[in-house]
């Protein structure tokens, strides 16, 4: 393989720098988000909080933080507030802030900056279908299983406590929508 003599495009260089920054400092970089549908930008992560602005569908914003059902966002116009997290996507193909700086993609960098994978194995459909079964690996999987008491105890350390939550009605298709 030969190295390209051309200078790297600036966007890629910026991304590389961002990756280095993450690895070096563990800093959390903002992500680029795109608004899926018109939604209020609120002053607090609460439905009852005052409305700072209205985010328009397809508007690009910066996602600075995540909290429960909300994402902290910054608009190109400089407005800051909270939007419902399920009204945002991140795959707009537009990955620039108002200032033009490249934002980090969690996908590209990984959240941890580390990897548990030692291999470079892919998992294509063909590779799945042509694999030879490995019963020894299934036995190993059995060996890692834990007892329910262990799982409960581990949960209680945090603590996580079990809640009663009903499944949601299926949207469209199987049932008529509630009015």
């Amino acid at each position: 393989m030969t190295q390209s003599r051309l200078p790297r495009p600036p966007r890629r260089r910026a991304l590389a720098l961002a990756v280095v920054a993450v690895l070096a400092g563990g800093a959390v970089l903002a992500e680029s988000g795109t608004v899926l549908k018109d939604t209020p930008l609120r002053s607090e992560p609460l439905a009852s909080a005052s409305e700072v602005a209205t985010l328009k569908a397809r508007e690009t914003v910066e996602i600075t933080t995540r909290k429960g059902a909300w994402a902290g966002v910054k608009t190109p116009a400089g407005a800051e507030g909270w939007a419902r997290i399920l009204n945002l996507r991140t795959g707009s193909g537009v990955a620039a802030t108002a200032s033009g700086a490249q934002l980090a993609s969690v996908f590209a960098t990984g959240s941890s900056g580390t990897t548990v994978s030692t291999g470079v194995k892919g998992m294509s459909a063909e590779q799945l279908m042509s694999a030879s079964p490995d019963a020894g690996q299934v036995a190993m999987l059995d060996g890692y299983a834990v007892a329910t008491g262990d799982a409960s105890q581990f949960a209680s350390q945090v603590p996580l406590s079990a809640q009663r939550v009903a499944y949601l009605a299926q949207e469209r298709g199987s049932r008529r929508r509630d009015r």
Binding site: E31, S32, G33, L36, I63, R66, G68, A69, I85, L86, N87, L88, R89, T90, G91, V106, F107, S111, S112, T114, T115, V116, S117, G119, V120, K121, G122, M123, S124, A125, L128, M129, A131, S132, P133, D134, A135, Q137, V138, L141, D142, Y144, A145, V146, T148, D150, A151, S152, F154, A155, V158, L160, A162, Q163, V165, Y167, L168, Q170, E171, G173
Partner: protein, 280 residues
């Protein structure tokens, strides 16, 4: 025998085949008898059938990518996964969770409660609540028997005629082996080809509910889907996941429509700060 009963018998036989195979072929005759019995009654895939089927499919997946050799990681994922699964309608299944050594980003659920997540996916999770969301989605597939239903469909379509011919000749042992292999292969193919899109949307919303039941912030699912959404569609590491699932953006939109503010009361729990990261 009516064709439908006959097919049911074949299927019962196939799903009854023990995964570790065919080391105990002595039971082949029992299995064949069971298959014939089942064909006369209302067809039911038993829980034991599901478990054996799942183990056979898992052997194939693990043949493609083995478990990451990190017992602490594997135990951590089992503790989180089982806690979520215990909040489901099938807490008593022999649940197994594993991280497999692949840089691809994906997760697989096998019938009977075996769930595998790739290292590439694990690495991209922000915290334990996101892990609980991914596992919750896979647990929902198992609880709803999405894969079993897909396998039944595939077996019916592709193998009924062929198997009917083979049943006339050949030994029982041979028959059980071939049925087993075909069932496991059909199950692996379901993972390679994907489920019905509506099953994926369904598993997303049920996964959120399961995570909430386990005490996690259910909206961590949004973070996972946004991570997937930020992947370049031409990235090979997401090729299989993208070809077998609806787009991340449509999944986010469906969740917003289904969830609204209904799960807000459970959104307040901060993620446990103990996500296991391998030591370097």
């Amino acid at each position: 025998m009516k064709p439908s009963n006959y097919l049911a018998g074949l299927l019962a036989l196939a799903l009854s085949a023990p995964a570790g195979a065919f080391g105990r072929l002595g039971s082949a005759e029992d299995l064949l008898n069971l298959g014939q019995r089942a064909s006369k009654a209302t067809q039911e895939i038993t829980e034991q059938d599901e478990i054996e089927l799942g183990r056979g499919i898992a052997a194939n997946v693990l043949g493609a990518a083995p478990l990451v050799a990190d017992p602490e990681l594997q135990r951590y994922v089992n503790r989180v996964g089982l806690w979520v699964a215990m909040q489901s309608e099938r807490p008593g299944l022999p649940w197994r969770f594993g991280v497999i050594d692949s840089t691809d980003v994906n997760a697989f659920a096998m019938p009977g409660g075996l769930i595998l997540i790739t290292a590439g996916m694990y690495d991209r999770l922000r915290d334990e609540s996101e892990l609980a969301s991914v596992l919750g989605h896979e647990i929902a597939h198992v609880v709803q028997r999405h894969q079993v239903k897909a396998i039944q469909g595939a077996m019916g379509r592709e193998f009924a005629t062929e198997m009917a011919g083979e049943m006339a000749g050949g030994s029982n042992n041979e028959l059980v082996r071939r049925f087993g292999d075909k069932a496991f292969r059909a199950g692996t193919e379901v993972l390679a080809r994907g489920l019905d899109k509506k099953d994926e949307y369904d598993a997303d919303s049920r996964g959120m509910v399961l995570a909430a039941r386990a005490g996690y912030n259910p909206f961590a699912m949004a973070g996972v889907l946004q991570t997937l959404d930020s992947a370049n569609a031409s990235d090979k590491s997401v090729a299989l996941l993208f070809s077998t699932h609806p787009t991340p953006a449509s999944r986010i939109e469906r969740l917003e429509a289904a969830v609204g503010e209904k799960l807000d009361p459970y959104a307040g729990q901060p993620s446990p700060g103990r996500m296991y990261r391998p030591k370097k």
